[in-house]
């Protein structure tokens, strides 16, 4: 039976796909070094353990080198019939994922070594998750997107429950897993509908097929809605956000940082590709839906965040609200695709740096206080002014106060919304405006504790911050400040993304 099948298959014409090894070099480097990490762990066990975090870090940084050479080369490369594309957008996003992964490695190394964790396997999981994200950045095809999504999600489910004998951590992982699988199922169903209508899994083909035909409107609408809902879970947009706070609080904090930044960004990357290439012709479906998701995420996320007393939960809800800000430009894709694309990418990049900075401080402080309560930050300015200033910079950036990174992110969102010059755009801009003010209140609660209150138990012994955390802090804080003062740096990366839209014929 099998033999006959193989024989049959051998009869089929087979075109060897052209593989551009330069374009795939980042993935290849990452996979090879990942295998090295695995081998070191398998053969060296205990004595190899201390080499694994640096090796992971090197894997991330080494994968950036081919990215740079690709960027210098400048040509867009497309493979597998357009399913896998390496263009400016993909390069920028890959670099962001790898750098975020590097920072999370720095955050995790001491945390894991000092706690009751399995260490080496963790890094392996993280590397494969990052690999999924790197692949996601280039996916222009439903199947590639789905494979990338599962590759990045499944390790993340495991990482969320990494604290084995902690019930909350198990709960975190289980919730995340169930919700994630549910979302995947919805998304797959949506994808199958889109495939049914267009007869292709390539996003460009789907875009061409669905933009014209009115006859298939209900199916197309259902397909688009289901796919967006699926990614709505991934980016924790309201009303699909309910897993996020529990998962964030229960998971080990470095993992939370990873989920809140890299995993969420990956969801946005998928959305960018789907919406800007595939669904651009159906803005009539995408825009209202994104308007509602964005407005609801900002408002609900902010209002619930006001009531939080735990910093990690607070950051989780703030992340929900921030997701709303990032979704906002999608609500004007039809009229203003170019600005909207720049806005989302810019926001995702800046968000990564400022949110990682905030988590780095949370990890550093909890080393001493063993708590994530807002009150445990009391008096931080008195005994650890450096950490307090770093946290202030991170939170003020998240709140969007110039001259720190976040302002430019908010600004480009405003710009995209206002430039659409439509009622929907202006109203959403006002919702964003009001929400940025509300947001400051809860960021201010943390600032207040750090600067104005006294240490809760009068313990003002300094915090010992390990070198890896210091470097993570320096990197992220510096990026946050630089992006704010010289937004041109970001503009340099995000100013040239039209290639994506050109692919969509838009």
């Amino acid at each position: 039976m099998l033999a006959s099948l193989v024989a049959q298959a051998a009869q089929l014409p087979f075109d060897k796909p052209i593989i551009d090894f330069h374009a795939l070099a980042p993935e290849i480097v990452l996979v090879s070094l990942m295998s090295l990490v695995l081998l070191v762990d398998v053969f060296k066990l205990e004595e190899g353990r201390r080499f694994i975090p640096p090796l992971t870090g090197i894997a991330m940084l080494a994968s950036i080198i081919p990215l740079i050479s690709l960027a210098l080369d400048g040509a867009d490369r497309s493979m597998f019939g357009g399913a896998y594309v390496v263009d400016n957008l993909a390069l920028v996003l890959k670099a962001m994922f790898l750098l975020s992964g590097y920072v999370v490695t720095l955050l995790a190394s001491n945390y894991l070594a000092e706690g009751d964790f399995w260490e080496s396997e963790f890094y392996l999981m993280m590397l494969s998750s990052i690999l999924g994200m790197v692949v996601m950045s280039s996916s222009r095809d439903l199947i590639t997107i789905f494979v990338a999504l599962e590759l990045l999600s499944i390790p993340a489910y495991l990482m969320a429950s990494w604290e084995k004998r902690n019930l909350r951590s198990n709960e975190a992982g289980l919730k995340y897993y169930l919700m994630g699988v549910f979302a995947s199922a919805l998304m797959l169903y949506g994808m199958s509908l889109l495939f049914g209508v267009s007869g292709s899994t390539l996003l460009t083909d789907i875009g061409a097929a669905i933009s014209g035909g009115d006859s298939s409107t209900p199916i197309v609408t259902l397909g688009i809605v289901l796919v967006i809902v699926g990614f709505g879970f991934k980016v924790s947009a309201v009303p699909f956000h309910s897993w996020a706070p529990d998962t964030y609080e229960g998971a080990p904090t470095p993992v939370t940082a990873f989920l809140a930044v890299a995993s969420k960004a990956a969801g946005f990357v998928a959305l960018i590709q789907l919406v800007f290439i595939g669904f651009l012709g159906r803005a009539d479906v995408v825009e209202p839906m994104m308007w509602v998701l964005a407005a609801a995420s900002m408002t609900v996320g902010n209002l619930i965040a006001l009531r939080q007393t735990n910093v990690v939960r607070l950051l989780a809800y703030s992340g929900v609200a921030q997701a709303g800000f990032m979704l906002a430009p999608f609500a004007v894709v039809g009229t203003n695709a170019e600005d909207a694309l720049t806005a989302v990418v810019t926001y995702v990049l800046i968000y990564a740096s400022m949110n990682l900075a905030a988590f780095a401080v949370v990890i550093a402080v909890s080393r001493k206080t063993q708590s994530g309560e807002v009150s445990s930050f009391g008096g931080l300015f008195g005994y650890a002014p450096g950490l307090a200033v770093a946290m202030t910079i991170a939170l003020a950036a998240l709140a969007g106060i110039p001259p720190l990174g976040g302002w430019f992110a908010k600004f480009v969102v405003f710009r995209a919304l206002v430039a659409a010059d439509s009622a929907a755009g202006y109203t959403l801009a006002l919702v964003v405006a009001v929400n940025s003010v509300i947001a400051f209140y809860y960021y201010g609660m943390v600032l207040k504790a750090m600067w104005f209150s006294d240490a809760p138990d009068g313990d003002t012994s300094p915090i010992r911050v390990p070198v890896s955390l210091v470097s993570a802090l320096t990197l992220t804080v510096a990026a946050t400040i630089l992006f704010g003062m010289f937004p041109g740096l970001i503009g340099h990366f995000t100013g040239n993304l039209q290639g994506l839209l050109a692919a969509a014929g838009g």
Binding site: P403, D421, A433, F452, G495
Partner: protein
């Protein structure tokens, strides 16, 4: 030298404080004297640069922007690093350059609890950058960034070094201002898009609004967004409620900076941005602004009369005084706007001075409750007389600076710009004039109750030190300027009048 000033003068002035702040961050906290020295030196050097700039300023062309630097900044959004000074910005910059070093001198031995001069002075220097930057920025986005830079330092200054209710006051200050700026940035963007501009340059945008005949209704809406941003900062009634709390709870230094410079950012924004760019919007809003200004004048004055706390009283008097400034602006005439700018400078000096004295009174008596004070002239005669002198200036006594801010502003309402309702503005004029009577009442009443008579029982036997050396150094320049500007108002009017002409022309007068 000339070349350096042309290319780098303004940039140096703006960013030198930031450099000082970075240097101070690297020095350990314990080196307090060194910190004070660096901070003072930085602000003095900035002051010297300012003096050189003033000396090289071409007064015959004071209507034009000078020392202009125009460099690329954020190309993606067409925002540029454009700075320059003209006659409108000059007096306010000089005021900032003067007040900040004086505050540092005043602070020398008077750091409020919880002390920590390092952090306090770093915040002060960051504030300095934000304030000077706002006055020199000629690009809307650049202006917005500097406008916001002042928020966080002030928030911490109130929240960390402030009084009992400091946490409430600081967050209130912050949220109000942030709310305004969120609307302001949307307005800026809307302006950018309706004009189809390729730039955020203020002058170009104003020109494009004229050339493209932006519809009146659009102008009104965009002006509304700016009104929220600037009006809250001024603050205008009914957005003033953050001010008394912020002023009362802020440390003395914070109150002085707030009164002397920060409030001016709002009024300056009206003169520099809102009026010349949106002339028709301004026409529609002028009666409303004038009305709110008059309510502010009367409301502030009545508020003063009801206060039992000296600092809170001065804070409410700020609301009233800024009302005169806004009334001057609302007339949309060159006369009124000149008066408004003079009013800004005069209010900065006078109210700043009043807050200084209130701070020193608080330090000596540990209370600012008017009912518990009295006999200041007996216990500390110099301070008592300075309080009297400054109160006189504040109520607008001719011959002192306050007069030239208040009187012409009232007078300008007699003859508002063409197209505005003359009857209405004459009514405003009447109300504003009534306000001066109330101002005299509350200021004299304050002076009388705190300075006259004999000290109250609880302080009668306490030795009260009269003004210290640092206080003298900090106060004398301000007192002298109050007199000098009172006798020679032309010092300010001469700077501003040509540049204000340009604004008035943009308004179509």
């Amino acid at each position: 030298m000339k070349d350096f000033l042309n290319d780098w003068g303004l940039t140096t002035m703006v960013f030198l404080p930031l450099v000082g702040a970075v240097v101070m961050m690297l020095i350990p906290k314990a080196e307090e004297e060194l910190h004070k020295f660096i901070a003072l030196l930085t602000t003095l050097v900035v002051g010297v640069v300012g003096v050189f700039l003033t000396a090289n300023f071409d007064w015959d062309r004071s209507k034009d922007l000078q020392f202009v630097v125009d460099k690329g900044w954020i190309d993606v959004i067409h925002s540029r690093y454009t700075v320059g000074v003209d006659g409108i910005a000059m007096p306010l910059i000089l005021l900032t350059l003067l007040v900040v070093p004086l505050i540092i001198i005043y602070s020398w031995n008077h750091f409020p609890e919880p002390h920590n001069p390092k952090a306090f002075l770093i915040l002060m220097l960051v504030l300095d950058t934000g304030m000077i930057g706002s006055f020199v920025a000629q690009d809307l986005i650049l202006f917005f960034v500097f406008f916001e830079v002042v928020l966080l330092p002030m928030y911490f200054m109130i929240g960390v070094w402030g009084g009992e209710q400091r946490q409430y006051a600081s967050i209130k200050f912050f949220l109000y201002t942030l709310f305004g700026s969120a609307f302001m940035i949307v307005a800026f963007l809307a302006l950018f898009f309706v004009t189809g501009a390729e730039t955020f340059n203020m002058v170009d945008l104003a020109r494009l609004v004229r050339e493209n005949d932006v519809a009146r209704n659009t102008q009104i809406l965009i002006f509304g967004g700016m009104f929220m941003g600037f009006g809250i900062k001024v603050p205008m009634f009914p957005f003033h409620t953050w001010l008394p709390d912020a002023h009362t709870q802020a440390p003395t230094q914070g109150s002085v900076i707030l009164a002397a410079v920060l409030l001016k950012l709002g009024t300056y924004g009206f003169v520099r941005i809102a009026l010349p760019m949106l002339p028709e919007g301004a026409m529609w809003w002028a009666p409303i602004i004038g009305g709110l200004a008059c309510i502010g004048i009367i409301y502030g004055a009545l508020g003063c009369l009801a206060q039992t706390d000296m600092k809170r009283l001065i804070a409410f008097s700020s609301v009233a005084h800024m009302g005169y400034v806004m009334l001057g602006i609302a007339t949309l005439t060159d006369f009124g706007i000149n008066a408004a700018i003079f009013g800004m400078v005069a209010h900065g000096l006078i109210t700043g001075m009043l807050f200084f004295i209130a701070g020193s009174v608080k330090e000596r008596f540990h209370t600012l409750e008017i009912a518990r004070l009295g006999g200041l002239l007996k216990q500390a005669p110099y301070m008592g007389w300075m309080l009297g002198f400054t109160s006189m200036a504040s109520l607008g006594l001719p011959g002192l600076a306050g007069f030239w801010g208040e009187f012409p502003a009232i007078l300008s309402a007699y003859n508002p710009a063409e197209g505005l309702n003359v009857g209405l503005f004459r009514f405003y004029m009447f109300i504003a004039a009534l306000g001066t009577v109330l101002a005299a009442a509350y200021l004299l009443w304050l002076f009388q109750r705190t300075a006259f008579g004999t000290p109250k029982e609880e302080f009668a036997h306490e030795h009260v030190h009269d003004a210290h050396l640092t206080e003298w150094i900090a106060w004398l320049p301000m007192l002298v300027l109050i007199v000098v500007l009172g006798f020679l108002p032309v010092l300010i009017f001469g700077m501003t009048s040509d540049a204000v002409q340009v604004v008035a022309q943009a308004l179509g007068r």
